[in-house]
Amino acid sequence: MTDLALLAADVRAAIRAGGPATDADFEDLCLAIAGAQGRLREGDADGLDRIEPVPEGAFKLMTVACFPPSEAEAEFRTSGTTTGSPGRHLVRDLRLYRESALAGFDRFVLYPPRPARVVTLIPPGEARPSSSLSRMVSFALECDWALPPLVARDGDSLALDRLLPALRGAGRDGEALVILGTSLDFLTLLEALAAAGEAIRLPAGSRVMHTGGEKASGRELSREALAHRLVAALGIAPEDAVEEFGMTELLSQAYDAPRVTGGGPRRLVPVPWMRSRVLDPGTLAEVPAGATGLVCHYDLANVHTAVAVLTGDLATGAADGFSDVRRAPGAAARGCSSEASDRWTHSRTPTS
């Protein structure tokens, strides 16, 4: 077996164990993977600072893989909505992604009492094979559910004719649901409920898992506002509005799941086999909790590509995760002809 194959076995074992036993174990494994990937810096840095992270944009500019691309079992693509050009993440081992995604989902979303049924507003992987999120949904659908899963999706549209009866039925029958959707999907659902003048009361134990996806939709809604409206419209507890944070470039996720991550301010906490550090963009030194910087994820499941991914997301650091994620708007405009954001063409040329 190659070094990476051996390391992948270690990662799989760590996932099955609920994460590396200690921070030092995590660091050792992460450094071993980075070394095998050729991404350790020379010099006197310590710990995770020894790893040279791969910028998120590299997935758009080049093939990021420590294996022949022909051996990829899947190819996930970014939408390119933010930059205009798509990126790709070649997945060498889909089973590893499945284990990572499902273990995180189980821990942060399927906390007790386990819901009886899953309803997804997100198309499953068969419909969108290049979407890492859709693939994750497919994994979730394959879990052991007391009631048959419902895919409330017809092509690009929500299948409201199936979704709304299912929601009403759950309220009537007392069978708790978990509903998976992007922010945009949930916004569509909220609008449908509002149009019908209907409020659903889902049974206790029900929850939603919402994830990004509002970018470039023209219907942006803050995470907080979305969660607040979901709580009101579906009759769930605020703690049961779970946010999932994932990226095409990662095989692990972070969650804002208060029933799992405990009290304090709401924040995204990575699965135990991933660390998310908030770094000073000027120096790449980790910022103290409460300060803002660029988020860098150290995902052991990325054993075959880039174990450390520096994102273009600005966020506020927390002791065990991060919050207030937003895209870095980029560097300053330049040139004598550069303009402020309120350039006067805006009235005629709306930005997407």
Binding site: A331, A333, T345, R348
Partner: protein
């Protein structure tokens, strides 16, 4: 607007205006302080930016452009100058050169930095009252429909801005003359003899760093790229020298504190360059500033500004089409470095072979940001264009 004064009176008024901005004093310093607050540049940097806006305009050079602008051709009733960016020279040039052509001027302040235009108009009223009736301010927000109407009505327009903004201006005034200043950038072309030894290379690096530092690389004459011929000091050694000299320049021309989002943008840029095989040399306290040495043959990437320079090695004759493909038709200035007798013919041959990269201004390194009074910004000599106006 009234007719303009006689040439001598005009020269005196414009000279007085330039002198006021070039002479430290309570009123001038208060104006510079406002520019400092508006741009984020520390006071000495803002003062230097203002100085560079007016230092080309000595009484002698003003007399010259007043003569050049005094031709017998018909003139537009006035010029509407739509400003952009943060560089004070843009507004100063529009006022002085338009008036030199005997054309009154209306300034629409830059939305990125609106204060200098306001201060300039106020200073005209205060120190050059004879021309005050010929200088006005159109201080409207970009979304105000009266601005669009003013663009339609203006007999002549000088439009700076993004490509989209300039295109919108042109579209509003079909058939009417519009001098455009859309996005342009500058670069350094260094032949091997400019890097023949360490001291020559350091002189070059110092000069380039000076051109980069002023306005925090936000001017169209700010170099973002240095094309460096192989055969002299190795490119990585020159990149290190340039990094060091940019650090020194940051002590002479203090930068505006960048926002965290701006630094994040620079970070993502340099890390992407590193991933593509580039060598990243950050400043002593991190980025920005930074010098990025790209692998041989790799084309430049859209730079983030904020004092980030890409060094691109080349061998043989320079091929700006290949190394700077995005700059086709968008080169404002080129600083040519090397022995004059050899470098200039080679540069001329390169631009003849690659006309899309022919610059509006060519000069020595360190001179890019010190253009003469009558330079052809965007390929146009304003006072000549206006005095040769055809309605």
């Amino acid at each position: 607007m009234d007719a303009l004064p006689h040439a001598d009176e005009l020269t005196a008024a414009l000279s007085g205006l330039a002198a006021w901005w070039l002479s430290p004093g309570p009123s001038r310093d208060a104006a510079v302080a406002v520019v400092s607050g508006s741009t984020g540049w520390p006071f000495p940097h803002a003062a230097e930016a203002v100085r560079r806006a007016f230092s080309p305009y000595t009484p002698r050079t003003i007399a010259g452009i007043v003569r050049a602008g005094g031709g017998p051709g018909p003139r537009p009733g006035y010029l509407l100058a739509i400003l952009a960016g943060r560089v004070p020279a843009v507004a100063a040039n529009a006022v002085i050169r338009s008036l030199a052509a005997r054309v009154p001027v209306v300034l629409k302040p830059s939305s990125a930095e609106p204060e200098f235009a306001r201060l300039l108009v106020a200073s005209v009223r205060a120190v050059a009252p004879v021309i005050a009736p010929r200088v006005a301010l159109l201080d409207l927000p970009s979304s105000d429909p009266r601005l669009a109407q003013a663009v339609r009505d203006a007999p002549a327009c000088l439009a700076y801005g993004s490509d989209a903004s300039v295109a919108a201006v042109v579209a509003l005034r079909p058939g009417l003359p519009t001098l455009v200043g859309a996005h342009r950038e500058s670069f350094v072309l260094a032949f091997a003899d400019a890097l023949r030894d360490g001291s020559a290379a350091r002189r070059l690096a110092t000069a380039v760093a000076d051109d980069v530092a002023i306005y925090d690389q936000s001017g169209c004459l700010s170099p973002h790229y240095a094309l460096v011929e192989l055969g002299g000091l190795p490119p990585h050694a020159f990149a290190a020298l340039l990094r060091d000299e940019m650090a020194r320049a940051a002590l002479r021309v203090l930068p505006a504190p960048p926002s965290i989002a701006e630094v994040a943008g620079v970070r993502m840029f340099v890390e992407e360059c590193r991933a593509l095989g580039g060598l990243v040399l950050p400043g002593p306290a991190g980025i920005p500033p930074a010098v990025v040495l790209l692998p041989p043959g790799a084309p430049a990437r859209p730079g983030p500004g904020l004092r980030v320079v890409q060094v691109l090695p080349f061998e043989g004759e320079p091929d700006p089409d290949a190394l700077l493909p995005r700059l086709a038709g968008r080169v404002q200035g080129v600083a040519v470095a090397g022995d004059r007798s050899r470098a200039h013919p080679r540069a001329a041959a390169a631009f003849a072979a690659h006309p899309a990269h022919r610059p509006c201004r060519a000069c020595a390194p360190g001179r890019l940001q010190r253009p003469p009074a009558s330079w052809p910004e965007n390929g146009v000599v304003i006072e000549r264009a206006l005095s040769g106006f055809r309605p």
